[in-house]
Assembly symmetry: D2
Homo-oligomer: 510 residues x 4
């Protein structure tokens, strides 16, 4: 809940679709794309964009971008405009820099010597500043501050630059991947193909699904012969809404080619000797939708395990366990189960609270969070509450909730946080307050309970979090169909905990 | 959940505020009103309106109305415009008739021989058609189809019509109340006073709150001497967000005058001999926010008792109990507790699903509900689920959820409904499908489980519902400060169950 | 030009259409109405509304209203919505009171004992305040400050009020006309009929047209047998754009019934003995479109005659005659012709100047009018200009134009105004600044030339204006087809010059 | 008038401003820019953009772009946002390609190795296709189809590319000018300087103005010492509205540097030996505002001379001369004067006609132009009209006007066109219909009078047009302050008449 309040967020979600079989396809690719992006809406609500291609040579691309939610940005006319696509890629964007202009909206389309390419990107290039200089030194002007434009220009720049009919995009992509180690999950569309790329550290998620006939969805049938189209998405939660089945993850460093003929691994770019993968652990803790599957395990389950682990590390003598709705609920249920305490709701959310229209300096502003949550007084009056939250970032939003509960009659309020304190910035795509704003770096943290008005405060440890995440990876084998066991093993080893520990997956050079 | 999907809804919410003490007040009345309406947003999202008065003689009224949510309809300029109010009333509207035009938006303001009055209404006049004829026979033209205009014209019409400085509005209001028995909770603003009126059957809710200094909120102190303003609202959930304390309900038939000097009962219009109150039971079952208090009991608690009662009436041999989020959750928790079964989440909601932008006749439309809910597969695969819903109205929304769960691996899905089947229309302000559309009146109801694809379906009985609602009324004494015990007793007796039983509180005359 | 700058304006335009022959009609009534209103757009740009009726018993009315120009307020969906109309009335509104809300937008529709009526009104009831009191004393509440609502309620109120199938609307309209002498041109739609009414003084214009087949438009043929529909409009300029021919004016005091069967005079309500008509002379001077015809003469021609008369009354020794574009151009051409001086353009207009977005107190604001007009320097440098304007109201807009011309090299600038000074308020529908703001009532008027920086200033006299207007009425006989010569003679006699002379057509009673 | 109807238009207008003297300046640069662009609005109404710089090192640029008119695109907040600028450039865009997206809106800003530059461009690069290939071969991807982006990348690309503090932009601009001969009038902003560039053929206009204190505007005083700021604009008509004086034109091939210290010629890039300038003759005929000055002469005067010349070449035996308002009026007045015929208005324009909202295939569509113009019948009934238009492009808009006049009683209608027939495409920035759509290339042109329904049709000859334009250039000496007489002479020689003659200023290579 603190994440949301503090504007912590993922940079984006990406989604692509390629119709299988004969073209023009019967599959409504633009609808698949909008539904897919809608299911990724939690990864970015600022703007959305889709580019479709008819797949011809030369291809006709159609682009539509709009501000706001997918449902706002894609009215009926937009879908009409995009309807001739046989393949396409899309993007939802989260505003990080305040540059909330349509210009920064992805996918980014540029015309190159070989024709137009479209690029959608989730992540943040860790060496973006150096790469920008490099590109500009080559004489290229950059019109936005976005990594997507930078990536596109890097793809265009790679020599040899001859006017050939079949440019070697794979070589260019591999070259790009040697220029920048992380973090990116990338979709590149050219003519009739979508390339799906995940950086060698696998920092951002990316997985593949298969659209099967509706009649085959119920049954366990529907072999590859029945495939109506291929989709690729930041999260698997988008597959269900379009009638697709989870197929497999894109591996760290893998370049996958998706065409009407199917899915094909073109290359796997290795990490430096000795480096382990670095999948962002906060995808599990907060960002992803609970029904998504990463590394073979459901996110909800990991969160529940975090709650259980937290109960083991920091048990409480209390009457009931509750949650700050809605993101902390799985952890709260896990905590309650582990200790055998009753799970009780203490807050109800006003779903309709929008942007604040109240000017500063008014009496009513002080009431703050009360606009957002109502206290379910009779459920906890006179009782000792353990309240589970998923994180405490600045400490300024949990405080009024505690006050609210105490005013409404709670005897004690103990805060248990289902993740460790955040202390370090992220350079790989997550928007985190400055070091100084993070409560864990401030003097108040010495008496955090006193500061926020709680009777006690405890956090999950980094080790506890890692065990909750990695403890379930044994079950991976049955889920992921296509990857050789070698790859599975190598992938299973590591997660990025840089914001908690300060240990970044690659050395920072500035 | 079915309610929402089927467009069942309350007609509106009303909210009023009068600053206490010296005028011009320091209290930001327009902000109190917008926050109050925001907390009532679940009662109507189509449009919102506010009228403030400076309370002078003659008064200056300022009106602002807008389409959409309160946060949309009331931008900063609107608040600026309304800022000189010392008192005011507001309204949120739910579209019932499709006449979603600003013209129908309340409050309704009319100029009368004695000056302007403003009226905000929640409910539906059971004899509206006859009253319209009566008013028009008097030579009045009606420019809208709204009950509010009708009420306003009835107030204006009442003889004697002389041009006096202090018109007897109470006499006019009492006259109105003899013309129409139900259903209305009504706010009438004239100059420096807000009249709060509840129909003799108490069909719609209305309660009073007291704004206290923020410093007094925490403590149990803050006597009437500290009052900064009085508020009146459809539901008490709005008090918390503006820093007000619950004071008491307006009684059935009561006319309360709220002025800068405080709250005063002007009259209590009785019901016909022998008639009992008829507070709408669906306020408990579905409409109200769970943290609101009616008749001294918290709505959440009643819903939880419904779940417990349902477990007693219709227990199930299953592995886990779950909910269709979010409205059925209290009942599901109650059901689980009663039977000692684990409460487990099986569905997660995509918060960002907006209006459908997909045209009919497409493959993707068939996937329906999957856009809205994701299945938390690992939580229930291979298990027998008892799924609690708050109602089944048409039967067309629970069906795809069941399919979704079964596709995802549920072994059995048993549906338990925390309210009885709806079989009859409501003429008192609730929007219900036609008799023919209600599943309980259709042949399919004979095999409802087969029809919706469940392994079994059971409903709460009317008696069970009434016992869940009325069983808790013993605790009423401590909550409601101001009402004589006589009134309490009389009020406790009855609830309107017309949509379930066909027994209307008054005889229908057409 | 001063009019425009000073917010002087007509209250509105009205337009109605009834399809002739069989219903459902082939005539696209909603399109006729929107085109007709577009041609009346100069009479009001704030909002527009249309109500159509299918003409059945009971009828179905469809209403659409919107803010802004007709083209904005009536998008394709609105026309679609209105398409089933066989008849309809419309209105364009000019904001007079600043109450620019949709609620005040006409036509006004109310439900009465006999069914719904729709009313569109141009004018202002001279005794509105007294009538409001009267209506309210009867117990009617008025929800807007508009005369249209007042008129509608007066029509609804008239006794006897019995529920009959064929209400006597003519009796009610006559009754209304006895209650209020002026000013109104009124359209009342009921079921399958439009009543067109002009007040006994004929203060506001109203005329009738006949839609003929396009093939007949070119020829002089197309008798009444060919009529496809009847239209009624504030001004005849709207007929051309819909392929209609001018038919005749509605006479002062006349009640015309327009049905599918044609046009019929139902009654002519007389003026008090001795009173003459009082058609607003400023319709000729400024408001009307130059191609409209009043009293048998084209407005442009009258304006040209005003210029000629002004040349006779106030000749100038100068090198060239010019205009403040665009409204003063006919008068300027007349003035130049009369004196044999060359007509030369000295100003060009920036068509794209919109609302000012510049905040006060800036250097650039002082440049004022330069944003709106460019000086055609080479046309007048070193020369003596006679600049014709249609009016000087406040004197604050002509002043910067003179400065502009002098800066650009004009040797002398003489102002000649093609109408007399305005000194008195209008209570009949024209928005005029307060008495104190009118330059003709201020001390500066003693040296008006010095005040505005001109070398000389002269106005047309009231007698000169009347002779320019009435001198052309001899040609009336051939134009107006249907009126008996008696009526023509009586109508020819008088015009309202109240704002110039203070002589109002009826006694003011407050 | 035909131009407007046929979507013929200029590509854009550019405007720049640099505050003189100390920075931060008192001059409200953002307001100067918006007013300047407003005065250039006739050159583009689709979108507008402004970039300001604080002039620091490194500079802070602020950008605002919006769709629609300047007044729409630049609300108060936008001006607020831009307020810290000490210099800036702006652009209004005319939609040529239908790509009416914000992305194509100028000025274009890109980050280069030396920092950000901003570019605003009027014109069209005649060798754009080849240049795009060249840039892309270098490895640059182009994200739009606009010439501005291409220009910007060309500026960024020029070697040597080293990271120096004071990049040699002049060398880069000169290099750009050798790559592309025409057509461009270009503003390039870098840090604290605006470079104003006109292509060697001077195809598009560009001139410089000087902001003087308001108090000095009236007098002939105000030397350079009084300069408050420098402005540069596509047309001089924008100077008056911001209180600036015309200073001089930018010469063909000239690179001017505008800084707080004043205006300085950095270089003049020559044309190939023997080539003459090629200023677009249609700037005189149609595009420019009549009060603008090119080559020392006022556009209005040239148009009047075109009318006179047309009268000499194609006199008519008629009763009156009139105009299709408003663009043909100067020519009509010239024509009338030359022949001594009366100038009479026959059409009045409905200023409020917006986009057509009427669907095709309706009776009313046939009425076409009648919505836009009203016939001033009494001015011409029974008479022989010479109607002057500025051009006939497709022949489909003059035709209904002739029909309108004839239906209203004109005895004869003779069309005289104040420019020669257009027969060839423009590759230098003007949007012209395809060769096949141009009436002068179609068989109907053999009997153009019969085709459009006129009694006769005559065009101005190319020689006549050139003599009207060049005959006035003798008066140039007094107007243009700063240019050596050599340059004046060379410039005076040539105009581009490619669309009339097919002779392009440079050889076309595709």
């Amino acid at each position: 809940m603190e994440f949301e309040e503090n504007g912590i967020g993922e940079e984006c979600g990406v989604f692509g679709c390629v119709a299988a079989g004969e073209w023009p396809t019967q599959l409504e690719v633009a609808q698949v794309l909008t539904l897919g992006l809608t299911a990724l809406q939690h990864r970015g609500q600022e703007s959305a964009g889709i580019v479709t291609s008819n797949g011809a040579s030369p291809p006709t691309y159609t682009t539509h971008k709009g501000m706001g939610l997918v449902s706002t940005a894609f009215p009926a006319e937009a879908l009409q405009k995009l309807r001739n696509g046989n393949l396409g890629i899309g993007h939802t964007r989260y505003s990080t820099s305040g540059n909330s202009e349509l210009q920064n909206c992805q996918p980014f389309v540029v015309d190159t010597l070989h024709g137009e390419i479209a690029v959608a990107h989730n992540g943040e290039l860790i060496n973006a500043a150096a790469l920008r200089k490099k590109v500009m030194r080559h004489g290229v002007g950059l019109s936005t501050s976005s990594d997507s434009e930078l990536i596109t220009q890097l793809l265009a720049l790679t020599p040899p630059m001859e006017e050939v009919d079949a440019p070697d995009w794979v070589a260019r992509i591999k070259n790009l991947m040697t220029e920048t180690p992380t973090s990116y999950s990338l979709l590149v569309m050219f003519r009739d193909v979508v390339y799906a790329i995940r950086d060698p550290y696998g920092n951002r998620p990316l997985c593949i699904g298969r659209i099967v006939p509706i009649s085959k969805l119920q049954s366990s049938g529907g072999g590859e012969g029945d495939t109506e189209g291929w989709v690729v998405s930041s999260e698997s939660c988008s597959f269900q809404s379009i009638g697709a089945r989870y197929y497999r993850e894109v591996q760290p460093g893998e370049i996958v080619q998706i065409s009407k003929h199917g899915v094909k691994t073109l290359s796997i770019v290795p990490r430096p000797e000795g480096d382990v993968p670095a999948f962002c652990i906060f995808e599990y803790v907060y960002f992803a939708r609970p029904d998504s599957i990463f590394e073979g395990q459901m996110v909800y389950t990991v969160r529940q395990r975090c709650g259980r682990q937290l109960a083991i590390e920091a048990p409480t003598d209390a009457d009931l366990v509750s949650t700050v709705p809605e993101s902390a609920t799985p952890a709260a249920l896990g905590y309650a189960q582990q200790l055998g305490l009753p799970y009780v709701e203490v807050l109800c959310k006003n779903r309709y609270v929008g942007r604040t229209f109240i000017q500063p300096n008014t009496r009513l502003r002080q009431l703050g969070v009360a606009k957002k949550f109502g206290a379910l007084t009779d459920n906890f009056a006179g009782k000792r509450i353990v309240l589970i939250d998923d994180s405490i970032v600045r400490g300024n939003t949990i405080s009024p909730i505690i006050k609210l509960l105490k005013e409404a009659g709670a005897k004690e309020v103990h805060i248990r946080v289902a993740s460790p304190p955040i202390r370090h910035p992220c350079y790989m795509g997550i928007n985190i307050p400055t070091r100084e704003e993070l409560i864990a770096n401030r003097p108040e943290f010495q008496d955090i309970a006193g500061y926020i008005g709680a009777d006690s405060v405890k956090y999950l440890t980094v080790e506890g979090l890692l065990s909750a995440v990695q403890g379930g990876l044994a079950s991976l084998h049955e889920k992921d169909e296509m990857i050789s066991s070698n790859n599975k093993l190598s992938r299973r080893v590591g997660h990025c905990t840089a914001c908690l520990t300060g240990k970044y997956p690659v050395e920072l050079e500035w």
